[in-house]
Symmetry: D2
């Protein structure tokens, strides 16, 4: 089997201007970053919609994640490519990957196989600098807090109750807990602090939830920095640096437009972690996709219990989004793991384990139904999956009256997901 | 008088593709970042030169800096604009500004008045992400060092003799000296460390001196990280992350093309501090300017004793550059300060103070002559300068047999520097 | 009511040599510290016993402690003074107080009223320097560990897995968690550590359990310092400082002889906390009291569930002690608190609350019976106790078939405890 | 040659009560610590003097110290023993040794050979607990400062300008620079601090200069702790713990009486380092020696330029002491080192080197004369010294008109110093 990087090399890019054209995005709203990436100005949202059909949003979620992988991103991309092959107007809205885990073990978050977004290497590295901008804005606020302490601490901040931490887009264990301000009188005030990864920055979460720049400013102003000696909260707006933070974030607020392996347009923008934040791409990216296309495919982190719930409870509620359906991605391998099989033993057929693992799928179906949306089960097919194993899932879905599709988008690109579409 | 930002708003940008065309840069070598900034691939250096005339390099240096300001960058830009007005083929090669001091007190490093490089705000903020990339590469190496300590410290590094520090593109006093790796067994190994500003990173200095990517790799590999318990040096190549660092620096190695207020092309690339590093823009930017233009105007940090000497001894020597002339920028205000006048009293005419201050200029003329190059004195004119004060400088230059020119490029753009040109 | 300090001032001390004489301790075994304190050499234990009667040991324990206080130490002293008044041969064996809590809120641990050990002020401050010696020995080992790290760390100790902490005989919150070894190459190796209070030092626990100097040496040698990089344990004997530690502890191993307010001899020696260690005075002090007297009264920290159990399970088991009986001290005030009354409302009669609180006493009676020893309930009388309240306790004990006594030793000294005796 | 410890074992102690008797010290003023050490209450100073003859004070100083050693303490003891052998009333006043260097490399400060003070081992270890008491008082103040920070910092202390450090009587490199108060809100306020060795504590210096307890209190109250955020000094008396510090120091203020190898009485009390403090024993010890004896022999740290000068300028001036004479101790070995000989080559005769080294002696003679006192040169004899070498020193002294004596007190005890006496 070819690796993702090998497949990426087969890719022939269309100029990003062409992709933008295909969505009817004005040239004046387009800020190119090289030839195959562009930022789209938020102004584009105020242009009249050119598509007649109403926007339809599909959320891709999954069963409980296992080390075996499920493939939400890959399925999202495959599904969108299938819509393209069916000549539907479609656009992806996905998260941008963190440099940190990417340099570490996890690999990027650009999909895989023939269902990737491109250019893989640039998206996985600095991309358009959004993470760097968020890092800078986050750390400017932190520097201002320490500067305030250094120059007499007029606000009487309790150094032990400063909750605003620094961030770095890097998996740097040694920075999790630090003591800063060492070196005597001229070098700041000594205190405990630390760095989180940028994807965990509150700025990231805020930026992804903001409707526009003024909404972003309001959200930044009310960031809780810490408490003073009387336990009164102290907010970012008291630090006199919100203007500079806004300047740093100006470009980062514009969604990034790229294309999938098969040329489907994709907004890749914002990447808050799903465990500590809400784990979805930016609201403006989703809105922009819906503005320029009939079908928008988006995803939410982790399983349906965590990511999809946060998607509905946080993102949809705060921005009036209303998805048509929820695709629940599963793999035979992951179901086997839920059925008790060790990761090293996943190759052989084991129908009983699949059946046992279906309990997990069933619970997630229930979760999605609780949210009031019809779940569609998508099995993301691997070469090792046996027909009997897949049949076990199909039968279960039939029994529950749930729509079901097998999708081979990893190996076959959009064509493999047409049944799902 | 208008502020720089007000003047910047009067600016009508030409598309960066036009600017590139004017230099005969291939479209395939151009990576746009928005509409008025582009990176030019290093491949461009291997295209045949289209200009017949040999390359001529002019270095702009200055007398000893004072809080009154001298205007090296402004004079460089003004001078280049004058060449443009004279229909000469010319290109600037300048340093890119650090976000840190920019957010602080110092202001950017984009020149001033009608002699600025544009777009001011983007150059002063994230620009094309070069500083962010250098920050990431620097900190990846640091994280790998701590990771090595965490997983058993096979190389027996002495934690007290690790010299590789982290960087941030921010003036963050509290990070100068830190203790990292706190929090017990799972959180890395406790040790003293700290952050420098990105402009002071060895990666910045290396990148600016490297001829190409393979030169950069060699230089990164031999970075001294620290010493082991036997006092044996340990180098970056032992850390197994040079490939990842190279990936992070790939785009950052390409010079950034912008234009001046009057449309003169400018490569703005690399910004190592002059105090702790060599203080000039990248070697590849200077070479690219010389490749595509007849005249290249560049500058060196601080006074001629420090910046120009480093330019000749470090940059020219390691890359076979050979400037035609050295422009020594002075202002009447700065000469008065060297003559003993306080900053608050610089407005009134004081010929005696100017004359006393000329001792500083004279010494710098000597310095430049030691380097074997003809100095040209340029007085960067301010509205408050009296004719008699300027005459005092002119007479001194005449006495010493040194070429002299007054330049009003700040107020008048390129036209004001024509005499200098 | 007189304060303890006022009562202490009424005290007329008998020379400590007389007290020693009364126990038939050889003059050569006596090391005076001022006129009313002496250390008794461990050699004394090898002199033939002069008392014919076998040694009998009584343990004083209590119900669950409340902020209202129960008075184990005071009861122990009162009981011993009662034996003296009855012309019995008796000696106390008690813990010595920590300077730390003493400087803080808790007050000393010398009993109270007319049932104190004297001289109060010296016992509560430096006494004979035992805590200082233990502090020094503990910290010498810590300094040797850091010294080992500083000079190349031959044993490959994992700095994150060093478990040996420093101690100070002081309540010093800011020292609980520190980073030491800061200041660069010449100032040791940076690591996380901290200080405990001396009473919590393992050296304190070890010294109190040791039979003699060679037993102490063996126990010190096998102190676990931490782990090396292969997770192999590293012990104190590998640090080459056990000899010096022994020298520092030589005098501290000898029990301290003082007298109670009424002249009853008391060995006050060793003070490990009951929460983190076993909470009883030294084994050698108990043995010495039993060697020179017929009756020995000793106590164990906290309630019978914790202190008495540790006394039996740790101290008795490791040294073959076998108490005759366990006195369970209660106060009417504490029983009321166990019955649900707030500390501020303890003054008025409240038989119902006392009755409810008896559940606690009953459980402790059970605990003691589990240990195979007959419990004797002693109510430590306060002026505010009503006869009916006391009757409630007496009746309960009668019902359970348990011996019961009221004791007014605080107000009346030994006379008040005669019934208990 | 026998070691000091071997010689110490030959020693037969006289009871300390006899030694006290020989000085006519009242029994009521005597607090024994074991059989051969006693503290003498400061009350003793107010008893009428029993000696008719006026007090005469002799200061023992030395040439510039070398690794070869000079022997100030040994000479002081030898000289005092010589006075005893001549039936003169004499008493020593010396510093007590620090546990720290003693556990380290330096060895104690009890003299050597047959000119030692006894009991060597107890003096070198905890002695009477003075260092422990000073440690506790010093650290109580530090704990109170951190406690103040923890509970809201009413005095607005600038945590970076707290100058009061903790101390430990231990050479513990890793504690020199620490960060304390780690662990979050409940564990104090994070700040930089550190430990000095107890001999360097300001409390040690103050205690040694104080005339009595009330003088000590005044000096403690005005200790400078640090500065507040307005740079206003904050003093110990603002910390509400001076009373407790006084209680901790009560016994430590009383001089310790011991005897030399030949039974000469010696007050050993106080040991501030000569480099950072004034380097002499306590004022009260010197006064007590002078109260009870005709001749008092005392010493000052380092060479005459440092120690003797501090003795005259600080100790004498603040307490009206007026020495009769200054003994300048030299050794042939040290003179040779000053003459350029390496430590390993000191054994052979080298008159030229001795003569060259005399320049050092001559300068110190001058120093002492500047202080207005007659210097007496004492050569502390070693077995390797040749007659010709000694003659060189004798001739130089004769030439300068300075009294000269050779003393063999190390080998011969007091008898060897009779000539000096």
């Amino acid at each position: 089997m070819k690796t993702d990087v090998q497949i990426a090399r087969e890719f022939t890019s269309r100029p990003i201007t062409e992709i933008a054209d295909s969505l009817h995005i004005h040239d004046t709203d387009l800020l190119p970053y090289g030839k195959d990436i562009a930022k789209v100005s938020l102004d584009a949202l105020s242009r009249p919609r050119t598509i007649k059909a109403p926007s339809k949003l599909i959320l891709v979620s999954a069963i409980t994640p296992t080390p075996a992988g499920e493939g939400k991103t890959t399925t999202s991309i495959g599904l969108a490519q299938a819509f393209t092959q069916l000549n539907e107007s479609v656009c992806l809205a996905l998260r941008e990957p963190s440099l940190g885990p990417c340099m570490g073990v996890k690999g990027g978050a650009c999909g895989g196989g023939y269902s990737q977004v491109m250019p893989l290497d640039r998206i996985n590295l600095h991309f358009t600098g959004d993470f760097h901008a968020i890092t800078a804005a986050n750390n400017l606020l932190a520097a201002m807090v320490d500067n305030h302490l250094h120059f007499g601490n007029k606000l009487r901040l309790d150094t032990r109750k400063i909750m605003w931490r620094r961030v770095m887009d890097m998996n740097d264990r040694a920075l999790r807990n630090i003591v800063s301000g060492l070196g005597g009188t001229g070098q700041g005030v000594t205190r405990e602090g630390g760095f989180d990864i940028t994807a965990a920055s509150e700025i990231m979460a805020i930026l992804c939830l903001s409707k526009d720049m003024s909404d972003l400013r309001v959200r930044i102003e009310r960031i809780l920095i810490g408490y003073d000696l009387d336990n009164t909260p102290v907010y970012a707006k008291q630090m006199d640096c919100v203007g500079a933070m806004m300047a740093l974030l100006r470009d980062a607020m514009n969604p990034n437009l790229v294309q999938s392996f098969e040329g489907t347009p994709a907004f890749i923008h914002g990447g808050p972690f799903a465990n500590i934040a809400h784990g979805c791409n930016s609201v403006v990216a989703t809105k922009m996709a819906m503005h320029f296309a009939e079908w928008t495919i988006t995803e939410a982190g982790f399983g349906a219990d965590l990511g999809a719930e946060k998607f509905f409870d946080i993102k949809c509620r705060s921005t009036n989004l209303d998805p048509q359906a929820v695709v629940l991605v599963a793999t035979i391998r992951a179901l086997k793991m839920h059925g008790g099989v060790a990761k090293s033993d996943l190759a052989g057929e084991d129908i009983e384990a699949v059946t046992d693992g279906l309990a997990n799928l069933e619970k997630h179906i229930e979760n999605v139904q609780t949210l009031g949306k019809p779940p569609i089960v998508a099995v993301n097919k691997f070469a090792t999956d046996s027909d009997a194993e897949i049949a076990a899932v199909r039968d279960k879905c039939a029994e529950l009256g749930i729509e079901f599709a097998v999708s081979s988008h990893h190996a076959d690109g959009g064509k493999g997901a047409i049944h799902l579409a």
